[in-house]
Symmetry: C2
Subunit: 425 residues, 2 copies
């Protein structure tokens, strides 16, 4: 099975098909139930951080900087949590708003408030505009695209390159004043695992959009999430935007969902002080504050960036063998066949496989038949439509390695089968 499929004769293809089909049938017999659908941390990672459950046990510890975290108040969060996130992100504490357990909610609410009330430099709320367009580098994160789709925006696909979004195209598109913003995952992008190049990041920070209220949604979800090698530093996007004359263009988001507990972490929205003043006035109508007790748990548990990076090394020790497993299967089983390509990320939560056109849906349907659930085909594109039916997101974090071995056997078999079906049709 080591020759590229395109070089095989029809007879050899048929023979290969029979072999792969027999293996597929055998795998189906096992009635597996495996899941590589979402970037969920594994139980071992959750158990590893168990001390956060009890780090705050004494009521006397609940008062910090004169604030009793148990009571109402402090809309933007406790200063100690702002200092922690500022240390991690490289911005200033006063540029941080501390949220609840989901940065997704902070992102949704930012877009929602742009829609209902407008942003700092908006002429009117976006719901009063005939048309709002949003740039979606793709493949990208399905939940991002869904937010902007949910508000009826027109999603414009921008191709991802190995250095980030195609900036020539972005710079052309933002000349349209109806283009109101862009989604970005700058480090270990979901799903490709790409780190935007310095040049890309500087070009983004220096954009001159026609829309005065252009909204750069900077989801730094994997800012400290290396699973291989040393921590890769990044520049502070707030500083870059400010220096480029765009101080209020960017909202940056991060969370501890994949540092401590996915269901009970703490999130942050970083933005210019002027943006904070504007947004917090709106947010003050929505809440009195997010959970400050849990924020304090995180401050006590994570301490600072250096200590957080030490914890991330422990996550890496659990994650790395899983990614190595995925990449080994792909390198061994798929690479020689010339039916797919992929990045080799060193951080984040995904491996993104681009198959020969027209194979993604069929591959995932076969996987499902054989008991392996994956992220739906097309999910990584706006409106869930992958024009080439090619991108597949593998999320190997949840299953133990033993299960992953089985799941990757299934995945590689199904990808081959889909390719052979196409070639022999």
């Amino acid at each position: 099975m080591c020759a590229a499929y395109k070089n095989l004769s029809p007879a050899a293809l048929k023979e290969t098909y029979d072999v792969v089909k027999a293996h597929f049938d055998a795998l189906k017999e096992k009635a597996l139930k495996l899941n590589m659908a979402r970037g969920k941390p594994a139980k071992a990672q959750l158990d590893m951080v168990s001390d956060i459950l009890t780090v705050l046990s004494d009521p006397a510890d609940c008062v910090v900087d004169g604030v009793d975290v148990r009571n109402y108040g402090e809309l933007s969060g406790i200063m100690a949590a702002k200092r922690l996130f500022a240390d991690i992100l490289g911005c200033k504490p006063e540029e941080c708003f501390i949220g609840g357990n989901a940065s997704l909610t902070l992102m949704y609410d930012t877009i929602s408030k742009a829609y209902t009330h407008g942003l700092l430099h908006s002429e009117k709320p976006w719901c009063k505009l005939d048309k709002v367009k949003f740039l979606c580098p793709a493949p990208g994160y399905d939940r991002h695209f869904k937010i902007t789709e949910s508000f009826g925006f027109e999603l414009i696909t921008v191709p991802m390159t190995p250095t980030g979004p195609d900036m020539d195209l972005v710079e052309a598109l933002i000349k349209d004043p109806a283009v109101k913003g862009m989604w970005c995952v700058p480090k270990y992008s979901n799903p490709d695992g790409i780190i935007y190049s310095d040049e890309t990041i500087h070009r983004i920070a220096a954009m001159k959009p026609a829309a005065p209220d252009f909204l750069l949604m900077w989801d730094n979800a994997y800012c400290v999430h290396e699973f291989e090698g040393e921590f890769v530093p990044f520049e502070d996007i707030l500083t870059l935007c400010r220096e480029a004359g765009n101080p209020d263009m960017v909202f940056e988001f991060a969370s501890t969902s994949k540092i401590t507990l996915p269901g009970a972490g703490v999130s942050v929205m970083a933005a210019s002080v002027d943006n904070q003043a504007y947004m917090q006035k709106l947010i003050s109508i929505q809440t009195i504050s997010y959970d400050k007790v849990n924020a304090l748990r995180h401050v006590l548990y994570l301490k600072d960036r250096a200590h957080t990076l030490e914890l991330m090394k422990k996550h890496a020790a659990i994650m790395a063998p899983k990614f190595q497993c995925v990449l080994r299967w792909l390198d061994t089983e798929i690479a020689p066949l010339g039916i797919a390509e992929w990045q080799k990320p060193k951080g984040g939560y995904f491996v993104s496989v681009n198959t020969a056109h027209g194979l993604a849906k069929r591959t995932l349907a076969l996987c499902k038949e054989a008991g392996v659930v994956m992220t739906g085909a097309g999910a990584t594109f706006p409106y869930g439509i992958d024009p080439n039916d090619s991108n597949i997101r593998i999320a190997p974090s949840l299953p133990p390695v033993e299960e992953l071995e089985q799941a990757m056997d299934v995945f590689c078999t199904c990808l081959k089968l889909a390719a052979l079906e196409q070639l022999t049709a």
Copy 2:
């Protein structure tokens, strides 16, 4: 000082004024810094529930009903939390959506989604309508009014009576299809401390609004919050609305903010199963779930309604002396003078004082001068405008009784002074 001011001669009024003014000046000398502005629980109440900080300490306890609360998932919350709130509210677990630490956020988001996407029976999102009107029984909760004001709705004041909102007026107003909803705090209403009568509640449930998507915002904030006497049972508003043919009209809200920790409680939104299906589809874009770890802490700590009511008795033991203090000062110092009236609530967090017209602002300005911060005058009315400049909300929960004695001395003195200024002007 025991005769009603209106019966005093000009000379006696002047004499009384001098005495009161001298006392006011003496109080000012003390340079007090006291706060009766918001319904914040006292430190003693927070300390009382300290065990909730450590009730969930073993990672093995983090899996309930097959769900690992630490990880992503379970948008609507854990079943155990739904059972707890259903037990407290009298509705069904499947009618409950478990939120974060703020029912205010669930309320805001419900209104926001009506505005951006529309409700289950909306013809279009409310942002696409020329006019949205909302009924605001007043005096009421300033944060409710602010939400609807923030979205540009026209707020219509409905007078509160001792049995709840003036239902004759409500039934007339809802014939206007632009009237899209109403705020209600049915038990120990904020600020009057009124419990809506059975008749009022049944009339509300049986309303026939012209708007098909009329939104009854039922904030059951003080559902188990007696500070005097036994628990007062209440009917399940979801059942009443269903029986009256309005199954989807009501959204009920509650939280543990004043049961466990104000800054780190758990909230609930109860609504028909059809409403849940519709809303959860929208909420699924906004979050993966609220904090399930904290929800589980609450389940373990509060257990059920009966156990929660036992805890509320302990809160009552702390709260009752404070309300007795407020009412004693009012009864002794103000009642004989005929310059104000008030309810005598047995639960909730407020005492609502209605002064002779035109005294509220001046009274609170004088209080501020003497170092006592209170809820701003007018705050209990739509747009912050009390047409009679009469309603003052006293929030006695935060200060210890010793401080409260001082604060009430100040308050009564300032109210007298304001009245005497008016009468001698």
